[in-house]
């Protein structure tokens, strides 16, 4: 999936993946897609919940070799 920006949050523990995601998405325009890489397992449910509460859309998420990837469309 194409992304307008990629955020590497691997190795970071909660709350940093979301803190950084929030900052990164602030720099995007509405409709653009942010790709986030994280290794903190808690990021999965938290990013989903955060996207929803912030009016963004979690388009897709995958897990490969312990790396979680998310594609979030800015609302």
């Amino acid at each position: 999936m194409n992304a307008d920006k990629v955020l590497d949050a691997k190795g970071l523990a909660c709350p940093m993946p979301i803190v950084k995601t929030k900052k990164a998405i602030n720099e995007l325009n509405s409709g653009e897609v942010l790709e986030v890489h994280a290794t903190d397992k808690g990021a999965k449910s938290d990013l989903a919940a955060w996207s929803k509460s912030g009016g963004h859309e979690l388009l897709q998420d995958t897990e490969e070799d312990g790396v979680l990837k998310f594609w979030i469309k800015k609302g």
Partner: protein, 376 residues
């Protein structure tokens, strides 16, 4: 005072002392509604940390000024962030749960239940965050541990402090809600690990069969743990009668509820076994026996020291699960069952030795409440 880390042990003491405690739980809403720190005097506010990244201005009005605030999250990091915001906003007594809900889930609170007739004692290890109960029975320098959790240091440290040796470890049944520490304790201490053979048909390691009528002696030979075959929650479920005083019921009978027969996918068949165990087999036992279950369902079941126990005779009067006619009973144990525990199939596979997840994964698998009970 500012922000201070507080351990799961200290939080347990606060909860048990029934002191008013205000918890700001900053996990996401799903995690919070699934499972939280409970207590008679505990008040909660749930606001996810990701809504508080820039500060706590929006929730200040909902927080008490005159009470301690405990901030709780999954692992600690997010609570610290929110705790710092609270201090910046002028709150003075802010506590943060060390290790978050992860350590809350794992903390074991040992409570002495009573003495054995010929010397020795029985202790209950209360896993307050998850509702699991395990037992440490000690006599004349020897110990049997029953339904151990995977955090086995709690038992080995306790044994070391008392200068006693763990000789036997057993599980009353193949657990579906938590990962057994049985094998790990066996490896660490050289103890013999017992399992009910009917629950162990698929296990991938050696064990000693736990069989009705085959006593296990601990220390002084008069302290016998006599297994009693009591199927229902699982086909192999086996109860223990310790010292003719205590009835360890596993997940068959709890203080305010009864076991569920469906976690291995056989609710229909095992419902009859469960009925037979609860309404016939246990009834023939002395009603003076003290029931010591493997779970509790709500903090209302905890005694003043945090212990969970009841006289068998009292349960026959008060426990709704023991006072149903056959039709009612069948409906209660096969319809409208609570959701199944988190990752229960993987947990069963781990307890059989079929998969070997690492520590981190084991921890994740166990997150959340146990749901082994049916409340009548």
């Amino acid at each position: 005072m500012g922000m201070k880390l507080i351990s799961a042990k200290e939080v347990t003491e606060k909860v048990l002392s029934n002191k008013a405690l205000f918890i700001l739980d900053v996990r996401n809403e799903d995690a919070f509604s699934d499972w939280k720190i409970e207590g008679e005097q505990v008040e909660h506010l749930n606001v996810p940390y990701f809504d508080l990244i820039d500060g706590v201005d929006e929730i200040v009005d909902q927080l008490p000024k005159d009470r301690d605030i405990l901030v709780v999250c999954a692992k600690q990091g997010s609570s610290e962030m929110v705790g710092e915001h609270l201090v910046d906003a002028g709150f003075e007594d802010v506590f943060v749960l060390e290790g978050g809900m992860k350590s809350w889930s794992e903390y074991l609170n040992p409570v002495k239940i009573g003495d054995l007739k010929d010397g020795g004692s029985i202790y209950q290890f209360v896993r307050i965050g998850k509702g699991c109960l395990s037992y440490f029975i000690e006599s004349n320098g020897e110990v049997i541990v029953v339904d151990s959790t995977r955090t086995v240091d709690a038992y080995t440290d306790f044994a070391k402090e008392r200068n006693v040796t763990i000789k036997h470890v057993l599980d009353t049944h193949l657990h579906a809600d938590h990962i057994s520490g049985g094998r790990l304790l066996q490896d660490r201490t050289g103890a013999t690990y017992y399992l009910p053979p009917k629950d162990a048909e698929e296990v991938q390691f050696d064990y000693e069969p736990l069989i009705e009528g085959k006593d296990i002696s601990v220390g002084n030979t008069k302290v016998k743990a006599e297994p009693l075959y009591t199927p229902g929650h699982t086909i192999g479920s086996t109860s223990l009668i310790v010292d003719d005083q205590y009835l360890l019921t596993g997940d068959i009978l709890f203080v305010e509820s009864i076991g569920r027969p469906d976690l291995a996918g056989k609710a229909g068949v095992w419902a009859d076994d469960l009925r037979n165990t609860l309404y016939d087999k246990y009834k023939e036992l002395s009603h003076d026996l003290i029931v010591l279950p493997a779970h509790f369902g709500s903090v209302s079941e905890l005694g003043d020291q945090g212990q969970v126990q009841a006289k068998l005779g009292d349960l026959y009067e008060e426990n709704a699960g023991l006072n149903m006619d056959e039709k009612e009973f069948r409906r209660a144990v096969s319809e409208n069952l609570p959701p199944q525990p988190n990752a229960y199939q993987e947990i069963r596979q781990t307890n059989m030795g079929k998969i070997n997840p690492n520590d981190e994964d084991q921890r994740e698998m166990e997150i959340g409440p146990n749901r082994c009970a049916i409340h009548g």
